[in-house]
């Protein structure tokens, strides 16, 4: 079975490390690179063509929203899973509209990140945690 190739984009190195540790426990996930800001993230996606970009929304320079927009405009095949501290309904809806294949609220990350990546890799179009999905429906 081929491993899922994941690129991490977050300006907090500590958080990146935590996520990498979490992901590498899973044998079918391979972290192919890490980006510390938006420009780097766009460049690495073009270079590495990962299956999934795990994208932090709040980054200096160009933020996650802009990265997602550029990738969509460039027609990149990499699927974006957004990672954000915000759980604002309209923010999340707008992100999904922009083409994000999943949205993870950061404090739920440890429990949900693996499920999100697997689901998106399996073709899920708009992955949300149960808690967030419930909120969206409200």
């Amino acid at each position: 079975m081929k491993a899922i190739r994941v690129l991490l984009a977050d300006d907090h190195a500590v958080l990146r490390m935590g996520i990498r540790n979490l992901l590498t426990r899973s044998t079918d996930i391979e972290v192919v690179g890490e980006a510390g800001n938006g420009i780097e993230a766009v460049r690495l996606v073009e270079e590495l063509e990962p299956d999934i970009l795990l994208l932090d929304m709040e980054m200096p320079g160009i933020d996650g929203v802009e990265v997602a927009r550029r990738l969509r405009d460039a027609g990149a095949s990499t699927r974006v899973v957004a990672l954000s501290a915000y759980n604002d309904k309209h923010y999340i809806l707008s992100m999904l509209e922009l083409g994000a294949a999943g949205y993870i609220v950061k404090d739920e990350a440890p429990q949900n990140i693996l499920e999100a990546i697997h689901s998106v890799a399996d073709g899920e179009k708009q992955w949300l945690s149960r808690k967030v999905a419930a909120r969206m429906a409200a």
């Binding site: 929203v65 501290a85 915000y86 759980n87 604002d88 309904k89 309209h90 923010y91 707008s94 404090d107």
Partner: protein, 940 residues
């Protein structure tokens, strides 16, 4: 024609009017009745028209043009003639009897039925004439009960015509509850009776196997067409000669053929046939047209009857031609409709007249009035009992004497007199005396008087005016006689019409002979001739304020101001001229002295920034000195004439105040000159004459516009600085609040977690340690949640990447959780990233602040939020139904009171170059609308 020559005689005898004839026919045979009614209508319309035409010709007061009148009259005459012919040619006999059964008139059919001419009946008694009449009881019954009596198919034999049959009716004519006459009709139904006899004859013939030829001969007696159709194919079994003549267009023998074979195109008659076999025994068909190959069209009526031919069911057709009747009827209907329309038009005209018009019958009973009459009388004379109406309408002569009932205008008109524009006094229903102008005319029909019409006009006001004019004229002549100026008037031939006493004094003569003094001179010494002046005026020239020097015969030198003008009559032609002379000798001398004094002033005021001027008591400039705009063209004019009343209202009221109070005053006054606003520092002092009377003003005026502007600007800047300072303080407070919130909340929590972790590290047992970490993790989760909310409030996450609409929606949802009782109706345009971020941020903050106000101050239960934008501008509107407030004019004051929220809104609006409109009413909610232009130049 129809009435006969003695008609007038009959009417005179019975007092019967034409409209009575209408009511006679009301209950008669349907056809007769309709015709008589139409005839009466057109006759009444004609009578009204004749009256109107006569009136129009003589008084020239009609609203209708004479041409239109004559057209209407022509149409009516035509229709009347037709109707008369119809009634005359009717086969129904009609007679009119008085209550004692004397004949008053009969139509020709009636006479014919009795083998007489109409005159044979007139004024003879019915029962004397018809000695053998057995119907006296029926006639008596009609007279005593007032109800109609019908008796049918009574036979009456006469040697000349064999036995004939009549349907008869007696119908009483009621007039004011009393039977005033009887309409007696005799409808010759011999044909019908005979038809029935023929039919029974045919049946009988069949039954008795009588000779067919005999039957045929019997049928040929009948003047109508007769045919018998047998069986379901309607085979023609028999047709008499008349029937063939009427119905067949070619020479064929119809007997033995089916109906369809003979008349393949006849649908209307054919379609009626089957019903005779199904559900009817007899059927009368309405007039129906038949077209013939030679192009002619004829009209028929049919009577169909079911019978048996031997054992076979069959139909008897009885056919009459009615072409002429039909055509006449169609024409009559058309003409009657037109006549009705004309009558209606005439009625409308009379209805819309402002004069009260009343039409009386020959007994003086009003029969028609227009609305003006009802409002003039105060009641409707038609529905009011006669006696009461006469009492209420009592008239008096102008000298107060009551007018005898036999002398009132309508009574005189009914005697044939014509009343023209006479004045009476009428006390109306409000008990006010009115002067009314009354005209009245008798109404004639065929030379016979049958009523009267009166026309009232209320001229109370006009009379009052005339009286006032008389008084005015007396006053005027007194005024002219005693005027302090010389007034003369001449006619167009130069004859002196009027010269008041002052004129004589000026001329140094007594009496006026028409000759003025010849030694007038103009100021330049050239001669001046009064006659020339007057003649010039007669030629239409107007002379204004011509100054003339006069040396009177006694040697006194006088300065005169002469005005003259032509006198025009109503048609604008010149009838003469009037000239007015004013002695201005004293003024002239004073003027000279003033001129000398003025020179001294001018020197003193030179180079002063002050404008100094004097005015007369009407505020006309009489003298002016102005260092900048020194200009004598203002003299003799007023501020409002020069600058427009709306621009100088305050200046004028200030000057008027000083004039009225006679005390000097100083005031700052704004004024608009040539579209620019100025402020003047004005000092005005009353100008007194020798007797101490206020005759005008002395005014000094300084333009302080610029000083004022600088001062106001400074005040505004100080205010702005103050607002800024307060906003900065406010922001500092907000920062302190954030710092305090962070310190008291998350920081304390973090410290707690920090200690908790350290504690956990020191717990030796793994299980307990993990439990502790789990607790710490939960409090971290809470902390994250708090921080997230905090950040979201500081900066809504959706605003920058996804636009104002998304940010507002998020806010509304959070807001609803906190305030579920407030109903929010958002109408938001989706903006994505279309607006500049500064505008989005500003509008969001403004929105937030307005929502804060809704919660904190408005106590609203509903809020409507509207956001829209286009290429040029973005618009945000927040509308609540809360308690409202008094919108302040002074923002500085609001800032001072510590209400910085709205001030912040204003400041944010200004910062993005926008405008704000706040409308609020106590108890009716608040509407705040922000508009921000999207032209990038306007956005800082």
């Amino acid at each position: 024609v129809f009435w006969g020559e003695s008609e007038a005689r009959q009417r005179k005898r019975n007092g019967m009017t034409y409209p009575d004839a209408v009511s006679i026919a009301m209950h008669g045979d349907k056809d007769v009745h309709q015709l008589v009614q139409q005839l009466a209508e057109s006759d009444a319309a004609l009578a009204a028209l004749e009256m109107e035409t006569a009136h129009a010709g003589e008084e020239n007061t009609s609203a209708l043009s004479p041409l239109l009148l004559s057209q209407i009259q022509h149409t009516l005459l035509q229709s009347k003639e037709l109707l008369e012919k119809m009634l005359t040619s009717m086969q129904v006999g009609v007679a009119y009897l008085d209550p004692d059964f004397n004949y008053l008139w009969v139509n020709p059919a009636f006479a014919r039925q009795h083998n007489c001419v109409p005159d044979d009946f007139l004024e003879k008694n019915f029962f004397q004439l018809h000695a053998n009449s057995e119907n006296r009881d029926l006639f008596m019954q009609a007279v005593t009960t007032g109800e109609s009596v019908f008796f049918q198919a009574a036979a009456s034999s006469s040697s000349a015509h064999g036995t004939r049959y009549y349907d008869r009716s007696i119908q009483p004519v009621m007039n004011q509850g009393v039977v005033s006459g009887l309409v007696y009709t005799e409808h010759d139904v011999t044909d019908r009776i005979r038809l029935e006899q023929v039919q029974s004859g045919i049946s009988k013939a069949e039954t008795l196997h009588l000779d067919f030829e005999m039957l045929s001969n019997l049928c040929e007696v009948d003047p109508a067409g007769l045919a018998v159709l047998v069986g379901p194919q309607f085979v023609i079994q028999f047709a008499n000669l008349k029937f063939r003549e009427l119905m067949l267009s070619q020479e064929i023998d119809p007997v033995g053929r089916t109906f369809r074979e003979v008349w393949p195109d006849d649908d209307s008659l054919f379609s009626a046939l089957p019903s005779l076999f199904n559900d009817r025994t007899a059927l009368d068909l309405p007039p129906d047209e038949r077209r013939f190959p030679d192009g002619t069209t004829r009209w028929y009526t049919y009577h169909l009857r079911r019978m048996n031919w031997g054992l076979q069911p069959s139909i008897l057709i009885h056919a009459w031609e009615c072409t002429e009747e039909h055509q006449a009827r169609v024409q009559v209907e058309n003409t009657a409709a037109e006549a009705r329309q004309r009558a209606e038009e005439l009625n409308t005209v009379i209805s819309s007249m402002s004069e009260a018009v009343t039409i009386y019958d020959r007994n003086g009973q009003p029969v028609q009035v227009n609305p003006a009459t009802v409002s003039a009388y105060g009641f409707d004379p038609i529905t009011t009992p006669r006696q009461e109406a006469l009492q209420r309408l009592s008239l008096r002569y102008l000298n107060g004497k009551p007018v005898d009932l036999t002398e009132i205008p309508s009574a005189r008109a009914l005697r044939g007199q014509r009343v023209r524009y006479e004045r009476f006094v009428f006390r109306n229903f409000l008990q006010q005396d009115q002067i009314i102008l009354v005209s009245a005319s008798p109404l004639y029909h065929n030379g016979e008087l049958f009523g009267a019409v009166t026309v009232w006009t209320d001229v109370t006001e006009r009379e009052g005016l005339l009286r006032e004019i008389k008084v005015e004229r007396t006053r005027l002549s007194t005024l002219i006689a005693n005027a302090p100026v010389g007034i003369t008037a001449i006619d167009r031939d130069g004859n002196l019409l009027l010269a008041n006493s002052m004129t004589s004094e000026m001329w140094g003569r007594t009496g006026s002979t028409g000759e003025g003094p010849r030694q007038y001179r103009l100021p330049d010494g050239s001669p001046f001739n009064l006659i020339q002046l007057a003649n010039a005026a007669v030629r239409g020239q107007i002379q204004v304020n011509q100054e003339v020097v006069l040396r009177r015969p006694d040697g006194v030198r006088m300065h005169l101001l002469v005005n003259s003008a032509p006198i025009l009559n109503q048609n604008g032609e010149i009838d003469g001229a009037v000239a007015i002379f004013q002695d201005i000798t004293v003024q002239k001398q004073a003027e000279q002295k003033l001129r000398e004094a003025k020179e001294r002033f001018v020197v003193a005021l030179k180079n002063s920034p002050i404008a100094v001027y004097t005015t007369d008591h009407e505020l006309r400039y009489t003298w002016i000195y102005n260092a900048q705009y020194g200009d004598d063209s203002l003299i003799g004019r007023k501020d409002d004439e020069l600058l427009g009343a709306e621009n100088v209202a305050e200046m004028i009221s200030f000057k008027q105040e000083v004039l009225d109070q006679g005390m000097g005053e100083r005031r700052e006054i704004p004024m608009s000159v040539g579209g620019r606003s100025f402020i003047f520092d004005v000092t005005a002092e009353p100008l007194l004459d020798e007797q101490g009377n206020v005759v005008g003003l002395t005014v000094a005026s300084v333009d302080i516009t610029e000083q004022k502007r600088v001062k106001d600007e400074m005040a505004r800047n100080i205010a702005r600085i103050e607002v800024q300072r307060r906003l900065i303080e406010q922001r500092e407070l907000e920062r302190q609040q954030i710092a305090r919130d962070l310190h008291d909340g998350p920081l304390q929590d973090l410290i707690g977690i920090h200690f908790g972790l350290r504690e956990a590290l020191e717990i030796p047992k793994r299980r307990e340690r993990l439990q502790k970490v789990d607790i710490i993790q939960k409090s971290l989760q809470t902390l994250i949640h708090e921080m997230r909310t905090f950040c979201s409030e500081l900066r809504p996450p959706a605003l920058a990447p996804f636009g104002l609409e998304k940010a507002i929606r998020s806010h509304i949802e959070a807001f609803q959780l906190k305030h579920p009782s407030i109903q929010i109706e958002p109408v938001l345009a989706i903006d994505h990233e279309n607006l500049p971020e500064a505008v989005r941020m500003a509008l969001y903050r403004i929105y937030q602040e307005l929502m804060n106000n809704v919660v904190k101050h408005a106590g609203a239960t509903a809020v409507a939020i509207r956001f829209e934008y286009n290429d040029r501008k973005a618009k945000l509107e927040v509308n609540d139904n809360g308690c409202g407030f008094l919108v302040p004019h002074d923002w500085v004051e609001i800032a001072r009171q510590g209400h910085l929220g709205l001030v912040g809104v204003l400041e944010r609006t200004e910062a993005v170059g926008g405008s704000i409109r706040i409308t609020s009413k106590l108890g009716e909610g608040t509407n705040v609308t922000i508009e921000v232009p999207l032209d990038p130049i306007n956005i800082q």
